[in-house]
């Protein structure tokens, strides 16, 4: 088991269509796109983390001037924007892209080229927002961009923010359409909706949340841009506009967004906990329904972000009650996760520790969330560090711990090598301690009256000690992340070989080699049960105990390493998606510098149109596909239970 073998060769430029930079640029393979999303997210996690460390350094004591207020405002705006839109969301897309088709027994997503467009547009948006640093400074109006502060027109910064978010929104919307279609129509034979892994269910809920919430923020962002650039009056009180309108639009998107961030992590731990408890997920249907209920209710609670805006006692009551209701499905999930471990054969591996940490920390965030639904209490807590503590317990203690559970869990599937478990455990404990040191004290700071988004505080306010502790904690977190990065590099260079099923896991992705071949499965699996792969390995005796079946041990070496030799039809690579994204990016820069920017808008539009036409007219037997036309194409398509898989 512990054989250390040579690392797989790194991709390099070359003529081979499956290797080299060009192959990554033109790839439409959901796994490669997943990896691209993941690597981008890691980079922005580091960027957002450095921003956080600078913020914490500034706040280590009262009246410090390490950062100017302007720099501080830019940093907290970008920390929020980066972590939400450039880290957690793309990580969800990374896991979804890589795993979702394999978990449902498909060979790719429904629209592979659209998938590539989604990634390149995401990257364009991310580069666009980040590049503002070199073009006049980061946006500084907060990640929530409250009008009319965000529409004060003097600087271009919030234009970067608004247009950047629009680009990211396009990317997410494309991804959502793709995931919904993939899950609904690409499932392997026998993979009914109630045999879908919970991770896939949660991705489905997230995709619907994106589909319904993104149009709302899109409208809002356009209104901000128009107020800023064309003197419209959506949010300008002087001309009859209403600043509160922005808050409704933003939070009608923003609250579902919170669930967009947390549900993928909930899906991840719902996969990890059963595997390392060697038990099925407790109350599968209830966990699925609870997830869907959270998504549904998430659209009815937005005004709890506005309890001090002056909505009046009746509206405050209504949103207090709807917000409390969300605690019920959330509780159901937590109880079912604990129920999954109960009576299990618990292996405390790194992914399991992160999943358990997720439940524990997310519970704290959930409980402080209930105190926010208590409107009178919220009027004291909102916009203080208590809220900062709350949502970091949800989004760091929850989403990030869930993400790391997923990374340790699926890294061997994606790379073929295990991460070092001992280092992983140290990473977990350091991160757990650092996290609680950082964000635990913030509850107290908030209750003691420290408002958020303030670059400094007086020495007479009594906030020094807990701020110092929080800063120390932040550096402990940073240390744990460095340890993780070391662990990842170590494993990439030559970690322990994973084999196809290192965890004795339950779902289909473990039934193929690690990493999976380009076509995922030699034969499209026929699914007969929930946790189908587990049931191929184990039967249950009359006492409900698992009995190992005498199946053939899995031999990945018997598999080919790409689809060409097996003559399995795979979608052709295409450079049109990146051309369309580049066109969009050019238009975006042009908009910033109107009217001179028309010199960029026009070529950008031409580039986009060229990409779209080229895409529409693309020859499916394009020479770039790197394989001969296949004789058994129709047969494979029939196997997949769907039509052409490159028919987007």
């Amino acid at each position: 088991m512990a054989t250390v073998v040579e690392a797989p060769p790194m991709p390099e430029l070359g003529s081979d269509p499956n290797r080299g930079l060009w192959s990554w640029i033109t790839t439409v393979d959901h796994k490669r796109i997943g990896i691209l999303y993941g690597l981008s997210a890691v980079i922005f996690f580091i960027v957002g983390g450095i921003e956080a460390l600078l913020i914490r350094l500034q706040l280590i004591g009262p009246n410090l001037d390490l950062l100017s207020p302007d720099a501080y405002n830019q940093l907290f705006t970008m920390h929020g924007t980066t972590m939400v839109f450039l880290f957690i969301m793309p990580v969800g897309a990374a896991f979804g892209n890589y795993l979702l088709p394999i978990m449902i027994g498909a060979r790719d997503v429904a629209f592979p080229r659209l998938n590539a467009l989604s990634y390149w547009t995401f990257l364009s948006g991310a580069i666009f927002i980040s590049s503002s640093f070199f073009l006049g400074g980061f946006p500084d109006g907060g990640w929530f961009g409250y009008a009319p502060l965000s529409t004060q027109p003097e600087v271009v910064r919030m234009d970067f923010w608004a247009i950047g978010l629009l680009l990211l929104g396009v990317a997410s919307l494309l991804g959502a359409v793709n995931f919904i279609t993939t899950i609904l129509v690409m499932r392997a034979p026998g993979m009914t909706m109630f045999r879908l892994p919970v991770f896939v269910w949660m991705q489905l809920v997230v995709a619907f949340l994106l589909l319904f919430s993104l149009p709302i923020i899109t409208v809002g962002l356009f209104e901000v841009l128009f107020d800023r650039n064309f003197s419209t009056n959506f949010f300008q009180a002087a001309n009859g506009g209403d600043p509160i309108l922005w808050q409704h639009l933003f939070w009608l998107f923003g609250h579902p967004e919170v669930y967009i961030l947390i549900l993928p992590a909930m899906g991840i731990v719902s996969e990890v906990l059963p595997t390392f408890s060697r038990k099925p997920l407790f109350g599968y249907q209830f966990v699925v329904f609870a997830g869907a209920a959270i998504g549904f209710l998430g659209f009815g609670v937005w005004a709890h972000h506005m309890f001090t805006a002056g909505l009046g006692p009746v509206a405050e009551t209504a949103f207090a009650l709807s917000t409390m209701t969300i605690a019920i499905p959330t509780g159901i999930k937590i109880f079912n996760w604990v129920g999954t471990t109960w009576g299990g054969d618990i292996r405390l591996t790194s992914p399991m520790l992160f999943s358990l940490g997720f439940i524990a920390m997310f519970t704290i965030g959930g409980l402080s969330g209930v105190t926010h639904s208590v409107v009178p209490a919220d009027t004291q807590q909102t916009d203080t560090y208590y809220v900062v503590a709350h949502f970091h317990y949800v989004l760091f203690g929850g989403a990030v711990f869930g993400i790391f559970a997923g990374v340790y869990y699926w890294f061997p599937k994606i790379v073929g090598r295990l991460l070092h478990d001992g280092l992983g455990k140290i990473h977990f404990w350091l991160m757990l301690i650092g996290f609680n040191l950082t964000f635990g004290p913030m509850h107290i700071l908030g209750l003691n009256g420290q408002p958020r988004r303030t670059y400094t505080y007086g020495e007479d306010l009594g906030w020094d000690f807990w701020n110092q502790l929080a800063t120390v904690g932040a550096f402990v977190i940073a240390l744990s992340v460095l340890l993780f990065l070391y662990n990842a590099f170590r494993s990439l260079r030559g970690g322990e070989e994973a084999g196809p099923d290192p965890w004795d896991a339950r779902t289909l992705e473990w039934s193929t080699s690690s990493p999976p071949p380009a076509h995922n499965f030699d034969e499209v699996p026929v699914v007969t049960a929930l946790d189908d792969f587990w049931h191929r390995k184990y039967a249950e005796d009359e006492n409900g105990l698992p009995v190992r079946l005498d199946t053939e041990p899995f031999d990945p070496s018997a598999l080919p390493d790409d689809g060409v030799e097996r003559h399995i039809h795979l979608p052709s690579p295409s450079y049109h998606p990146i051309v369309v994204s580049l066109g969009l990016l050019t238009v975006a820069y042009g908009f910033i510098y109107l009217p001179a920017g028309f010199l960029l808008v026009v070529p950008g539009l031409i580039l986009m149109l060229w990409g779209i036409f080229g895409w529409a007219l693309e020859d499916i037997d394009h020479p770039m596909r790197g394989a001969e036309p296949l004789e058994d194409e129709s047969e494979v398509a029939a196997d997949m239970g769907g039509g052409e898989d490159d028919g987007d």
């Binding site: 405002n73 003097e154 109350g283 471990t341 409107v375 916009d383």
Partner: protein
């Protein structure tokens, strides 16, 4: 993790650590050295909020202990020990009764929180008929108060800045708004009440009171740009007679140098009128009429205030001199964008004269 717990020494250490942590947290939550603490209510409304929060906190605490306890017990009890192989464990798929139970139980608990929540929402929204009225206007980055129940002898409004004087045991009905060209702020004095947003084009209300005299800290709680952190305020709660005396002082004519007076402060008053101060700042009944696109605080009785610049600095000669020499060095502002005070490029002797004048505006 679990192996370490076995040693009695580490367990004792953990216990001591937990007790110390708890003591630290409790001491941090209650102390008198926390002038902006939400947990030290000094009014009926703030106490209503505090009681409700503590009730919620206790319920949340019980659930916290139950859930974390269940996780720890489950992991402790069912963990695979060193050297053990795969254990065949019963493949339980769920339990409908349990599911129903842990759906209904939280619903009941939440209902128990919801009832007092709704009661308090409506209770705190009520305002008595005898309340005193004050209009609060949020500016980037200072607070203006208009005592609308009182009029100056010359008919003008009673205006002051940053320090809100109120009589003890009296309901104050605040009307909160901001100028059309300004941004959203949030008015907050934690000891006395929760916060209420101050929105351009909107008129919000908030009723506060205080049941003891003293100085209570507050600050803007909605991000309002560059100097959001410096938009602080004080509530100065006085006995009725103290308040009446203060009121009389505010309603009085400004203490100006006599015409032709040859003094430092007379020089300062001349400079005030010619150096541009008067374009933004008002001194009641004089040519210093303020207004303009970037109004600053009314300075008629500025020397009666303990602080200035968004309640950021004590009102004294040294601070005033530094302020006049370079305002944005003390409180970052954007005067070029009509937000905050510009640097007027004053010479040292001009500053001395201006400070002498200002200190006379009692």
């Amino acid at each position: 993790m679990t192996a370490a717990l076995k040693s009695p020494r580490t367990r004792r250490l953990l216990l001591v650590g937990a007790v110390v942590a708890l003591a630290l947290i409790l001491s941090a939550c209650g102390g008198d050295d926390l002038p902006q603490n939400t947990l030290s209510p000094r009014s009926e409304r703030a106490r209503n909020i505090d009681d409700l929060f503590k009730l919620t906190l206790i319920i949340a605490g019980i659930i916290f202990v139950a859930v974390q306890g269940a996780i720890l017990v489950s992991v402790w009890k069912f963990r695979r020990k060193k050297g053990e192989g795969d254990k065949p464990v019963k493949q339980v798929h769920g339990n409908t009764r349990l599911e129903i139970a842990w759906t209904i139980a939280p619903a009941i608990i939440l209902a128990g929180i919801a009832v007092p929540t709704v009661q308090t929402i409506f209770e705190n929204a009520e305002t008595g008929e005898n309340a005193m009225h004050v209009t609060v206007v949020g500016h980037q980055w200072w607070w203006e108060y208009q005592y609308t129940d009182f009029t100056r002898p010359d008919g003008g409004p009673l205006l002051t800045a940053n320090e809100l004087h109120i009589p003890v045991d009296t309901e104050i009905a605040l009307t909160l708004t901001a100028d059309d060209g300004d941004v959203i702020h949030s008015f907050w004095i934690p000891n006395l009440s929760g916060k209420r947003d101050v929105v351009p084009g909107h008129v919000n209300t908030l009723t506060i009171s205080a049941d003891e005299t003293g100085e209570f800290y507050g600050q803007c709680a909605e991000f309002c740009g560059l100097s959001h952190a410096n938009m602080r305020l004080r509530a100065i709660v006085q006995t009725q007679s103290e308040f009446d005396a203060w009121l009389a002082g505010q309603l009085a004519e400004p203490n100006l140098p006599a015409a032709g007076e040859a003094s430092l402060r007379a020089e300062g008053w001349d400079l005030f009128l010619v150096k541009g101060c008067a374009a933004c700042h008002t001194v009641n009944g004089t040519d210093a009429a303020g207004g303009g696109p970037n109004p600053g605080p009314n300075l008629t009785h500025v020397a009666s205030r303990g602080t200035f610049a968004g309640a950021l600095y004590d009102f004294n000669t040294d601070n005033l001199s530094r302020w006049l020499a370079d305002p944005s060095a003390l409180k970052p502002m954007e005067p070029d964008l009509n937000r905050g005070m510009p640097n007027l490029g004053l010479a040292d002797d001009e500053i001395t004269a201006l400070v002498a004048f200002l200190e006379g505006l009692t």
